[in-house]
């Protein structure tokens, strides 16, 4: 509060209000997640967590509890309990993660949405559009960009080449770094045939708008159902969202978790992704559910850490009490 009755909202607070309004306008309902979950729940889902470390404590009844490292898992657990075909929810929550960078556990504030159940192509397109529009809400005048790829394209190449699934993670890691010499080395050590190796290297170099790279991608992959699906989704987007899209196969994720389109959102001037998400049918299958799911999270605390240089986007509100 700067003076009596006058409040200046932080960028993160403004972003949360803006995102809530956006998601509610598209029929998403607020989902409040418990701050704690029983540790057993995460112990059974460790492969789906960004970091395997979970902050635990013993509660007054002797149960081992965890401060939640992830919101999606809790929402997936509850999805469909109300009998609806599709669960469309958004959240604004803190998660607690140790990224192994020497900074220990950190509280990270996320606002995001999940669409779980009978998710059709239209629902996927809507979620990707909302990801693009979320970037507009938080942009504060900065350039925005949504980088997308499809896990099915890469996994299709690896599976048809007979690659050992245990090697998928290593190869994806090198694709995420655009490190073609290491892709070549790891693929050769895994005994992948030469044409599959060249496809992976060519894919990792692709970067551009859908129109710019469409022909290049089909010439690399040939007829490919995952590629068709990716261009189908991108074709359904509104023009103002589509113009933010860059196809980029360095955008990846865990193949056990994400199975379809994956995406990351960026703002010029913030050196890491501010939005991350994708279609996670693999996660749902891993949790014993047959449905589809797509969602994303916006890391609102990055907006405070990396303010625009001019700082000229402050907005002040006066709260008035009606007596």
């Amino acid at each position: 509060m700067t003076e009596s009755g006058k409040f200046t909202l932080t960028r993160a607070e403004r972003a949360v209000f803006g995102l809530r309004a956006l998601y509610e306008s598209r029929g998403y309902e607020r989902f409040k997640v418990n701050k704690f979950e029983e540790y057993d729940f995460y112990a059974g889902c460790k492969s789906f967590l960004t970091s395997e470390s979970v902050l635990t404590f013993t509660d007054s009844t002797g149960r081992l509890m965890a401060l939640k490292p992830d919101v999606t898992l809790s929402i997936v657990k509850n999805a469909g309990r109300d009998g609806r075909d599709v669960t469309k929810v958004y959240y604004n929550e803190s998660v607690y993660r140790d990224y192994g960078d020497g900074n220990g556990f950190r509280e990270i504030t996320q606002t995001g949405l999940e669409c779980i159940g009978a998710v059709d192509a239209a629902a996927v397109g809507e979620a990707v559009s909302l990801a693009g529009r979320s970037l507009d809400v938080i942009a504060s005048g900065r350039k925005t960009l949504l980088a997308v790829s499809h896990m099915g394209v890469v996994s299709g190449i690896l599976r048809s080449a007979g690659a050992d699934p245990a090697l998928f993670g290593e190869l994806l890691g090198f694709m995420e770094k655009r490190n073609s010499p290491e892709i070549r080395r790891a693929a050769a050590e895994a005994g992948l045939p030469g044409d599959a190796v060249e496809k992976l290297i060519a894919l990792s170099a692709v970067y551009g708008s859908p129109d710019e790279v469409r022909d290049e991608l089909y010439s690399i992959c040939g007829d490919d159902a995952a590629l068709d699906e990716l261009f189908g989704i991108l074709g359904s987007l509104d023009p103002d969202v589509k113009e933010k899209i860059k196809i980029d196969f360095s955008v990846g994720g865990d193949m056990n978790y994400y199975t379809g389109i994956v995406f990351r959102g960026y703002l010029d001037g913030i050196p890491k992704s501010v939005l991350s998400g994708g279609a996670y049918d693999g996660l749902l299958r891993g949790m014993g559910k047959k449905d589809g799911g797509i969602g994303f999270a916006v890391s609102t605390d990055l907006l405070e850490s990396y303010r625009p240089k001019d700082g000229g986007d402050r907005e002040t509100f006066r709260l008035v009490a009606d007596r």
Binding site: K143, L145, A147, K177, R178, N179, P181, E182, Y207, K246, D248, S250, Y266, D268, G269, I270, P271, K272, S273
Partner: protein, 215 residues
């Protein structure tokens, strides 16, 4: 308008070689050769701004987006695993990370191997891949002295010619990995300054290929 690309160069011999390469491929900045204490050098016409930093800090500047691109040794990248793109092997500063020990060393597998190194992650990853239990002793310099004084059984360190090792009565007997300088880029800069960074990477790769073909 063309974007200026911020380039973090590693101070020292490697940095000089890297700048020479950048100069050769069209990103010259004559003021960088002026003696003095200036740390930032810009050539707006060429679209580059250089700054010198400690070699092990290059990936930090790049990962945090202060530098859009930089040049770092593969040893530093393997040790710290920064979240950056690795665009090109520049073929400069070639050496290897090796295990070395006293000439008469024989690994006693009945106990953990004591390994002195400046690169604990690389050493751990290497021995984990072999299934060998080790006790890592992190040192910050003069690694060669550790086996001589009985602090460690072996060292894991960078070997260029092997001369320093020999002078200290040590021999390299296993190569952990080959090392050379890599052009790295911030993942977000790569997207917002895509044309400029791709151009730098393409010209560098072309120069490296030409040099290798002539050798």
């Amino acid at each position: 308008m063309k974007n200026i690309v911020n380039v973090a160069l590693p101070k020292g011999r490697l940095g000089d070689k890297v700048y020479d390469l950048f100069e050769k491929i069209g990103y010259d900045c004559p003021s960088i050769k002026d003696p003095g204490r200036k740390l930032l050098f810009e050539n707006a016409d060429a679209g580059v701004r250089y700054f010198w930093v400690k070699p092990s800090d290059v990936p930090i500047y790049v990962e945090r987006g202060v530098a859009d691109v930089g040049v770092a040794g593969k040893d530093i990248l393997l040790e710290f695993s920064p979240d950056v793109y690795e665009l090109c092997d520049l073929g400069l500063g070639k050496c290897r990370m090796a295990v070395a020990s006293k000439r008469n060393f024989r690994d006693d597998t009945s106990r953990p191997l004591r390994v002195a190194t400046k690169f604990p992650s690389i050493a751990n990853n290497y021995y984990r891949s072999l299934g060998r239990d080790i006790d890592v002793i992190k040192l910050n310099g003069s690694i060669e002295i550790a086996p001589l004084l009985g602090l460690s059984d072996v060292i894991v360190d960078i070997v260029e010619t092997g001369k320093t090792l020999l002078e200290n009565g040590l021999v390299p007997y296993e190569t952990v990995t080959e090392i050379s300088a890599r052009l790295i880029a911030n993942k977000v800069s790569f997207k917002f300054k895509n044309e400029e960074i791709k151009e730098i990477a393409a010209r560098a790769a072309e120069a490296v290929a030409k040099k290798e073909a002539s050798e």
